[in-house]
Amino acid sequence: MKFSAKRKLAFAAAAAVAALGCSNLALADTPSWCGPKQATLALLDGYGGNSWRQVTTASGKEEALKCPSITKYEYADGQGDTQKSISDIKAMAAKGIDALVVFPDAGPAMLPAITSVYKSGKVIVPYRVEAGGKPGVNYNKFIGTDFKNDGINWANWIKGVLPNGGNLLFLSGPAGNSQGLDELAGLKSVLGPEYKFLNPEPFDVTNWDPALTQKVLTAEIAKNPKIDVIVSDFGPSLVGALPLFEKSGRSIPALATSDGNSLGCFWTDHHKNNPDFKLFTVSTENDNVRLAVQWAVAAATGGTPPTEEIFKGPVFENSVTGQPNPVQCRSDLPGAIYLSAQLPAEKQAAAVNSK
């Protein structure tokens, strides 16, 4: 066998890197956001009772444990109770935890507790849900999610599959939730008036509840003989409702949504009989927590903070182009896992099945 000069050089370089890496394995593995100062970290959930949260919690833990300076990792679930969430935060701070990553589900109601922990000299990083306040005054850093970006991603795909416009149905969670409003702003920034929204302004309210989603979709299907694309920010909640199209003798329309294993498997099973059923998903954004953990660890251990300040959910599946991924289905694993997350599918299944 003959090696070209280029290859030889590459081998030499690889060998050198490997040697260097082995000589100081721990240092090479430590991410830049992990500083030398030892610290403890807690993840505080406002509500931990669904699979998305469990995968997110497991992801947050995995991220925190990448940093050897983190000596202890704790978790508390507010169980949807604002009072409990507040007392969880205070209790963690009182126990001497150095850094807190908080999912403030209750929004601004959580700000006083967050602020008091910040003022007592702890590191506190709220993420995903805005609690109001300012970085450096009420908390170290807020790591939001760019929901408008999701709307833009969906809209660009819709333009691709329906270049001449069409009828859209947009479903989101509880009435007036800011995630849905931001996504709508993203959709409207790309789609012109030739794309008609069939739902009442701003979106059909589903509370992200599969039963309510099914009722809402029943009414919309009966009312609108022509639905070209459904946009939803929680794809898996549609799985129970989509067969309604088949029942009324229509093809399931194109779907722009967020990923979930049950949805991917549903597409795999149903796309052959439904010629219009194209699927496009953005990531369900479990990895939002990783960015928040990185910021919190960096501040608590003296590491270098990451460059990103807001989490942009990447595009995940596209059944039309297969880019960046074709539709994924792991029928051997639970439906309620998210293959877009960095956490390996088996670990997610373990997190979801742990109870």
């Binding site: 009772g49 599969p210 029943t218 009414a219 299907i221 009312k223 129970g240 639970p334 309620a336 109870k355």
Partner: protein
Amino acid sequence: MDLTGDTATALPDARLFLLPRAKSFLTVVISTVVLVLACLLFAPSSVTWGALSGSLPFAAIIAIVGLGQLLVVQQGGFDLSLAGGVSLAVVISTHYPQGDNALLLPAVLMAVACAILAGLVNGVLVSLFRLNAIVATIGVNALLYGAVFAVSGGVPKTTTTLLAAIAGGQTAGLPNAVYFALATLVVFSFVSKKTVAGRRFEAIGDNPLAARSAGLRVRHHQLLAYVYAQLLYCMAGVLVAGITREPTAFQGNSLLLPSVAVVVLGGTSLLGGRGFPVSTVIAAFFLNQLSQFALAVGVPYSAQTIIQALALGFGIGVYSVRWTANLFKQTKPTLKGGNNEVLG
């Protein structure tokens, strides 16, 4: 019953319409007919076959939990553990089989066993220990939710294909869940209206003291009401699990209020006594169609909620406000010059 007595004397011509047997039934039927007419006029899509076959399973669920709640209400009680009972049946029937059809039957039997246990606890607390029904069932609800978390960790799981086919499928053009509701109704009506035990059950609900004097086993019947109710919640939970494919672990929460609403709409007194199962089931259809109507008119969410509240208020108002009686109570004394009491 005494209510109809004085309306009947006040307005003899209206006697036919105000017969105790007919009143609640007629009211709920009229309300439903009015609603269906409104649907035809303002939201025709909500009464198309496609929409009905999609929404009827949910009406069936409300009917089944409504009948369960009715049993407890007939004994002068109130069952707030419905939410936990339904949710527990949902999670047991989805988590235990983990998608394996062969494990579905054992899972359903487990759910039934849990339902019987929960019903017994409710029943013992209320009928033997004389706890207030609301307090006792709130406590049991918390226990049931504890079990829900123990089973599921709060995580939804996809239903087995078999359950989805049984609960979510159709037979002879009608959703299967509707057959379950109708079967429940037939059994309920027959047992409560045509059997000795059923007649005793209603008599006890109407007047426990008199029933005890007559030698009936009051506590026994009160206790069993909670057990039967839990069994119906369990059935509803298993059906919900099949209908929604990937139900949440808290699916029962949204059923508590409708269950009470249909009992009231159906004309059963919250003080206990005689029950109106047929009216309750029609009320379940009414309530479900109401939300479909609100969705189909395509107004913003805020307006949808207002429409539902108004129509529900109308439905209950038609029944529980004694329109004719009030009218005559106000006018009659004036004719007799009897409003002195008011003035003086």
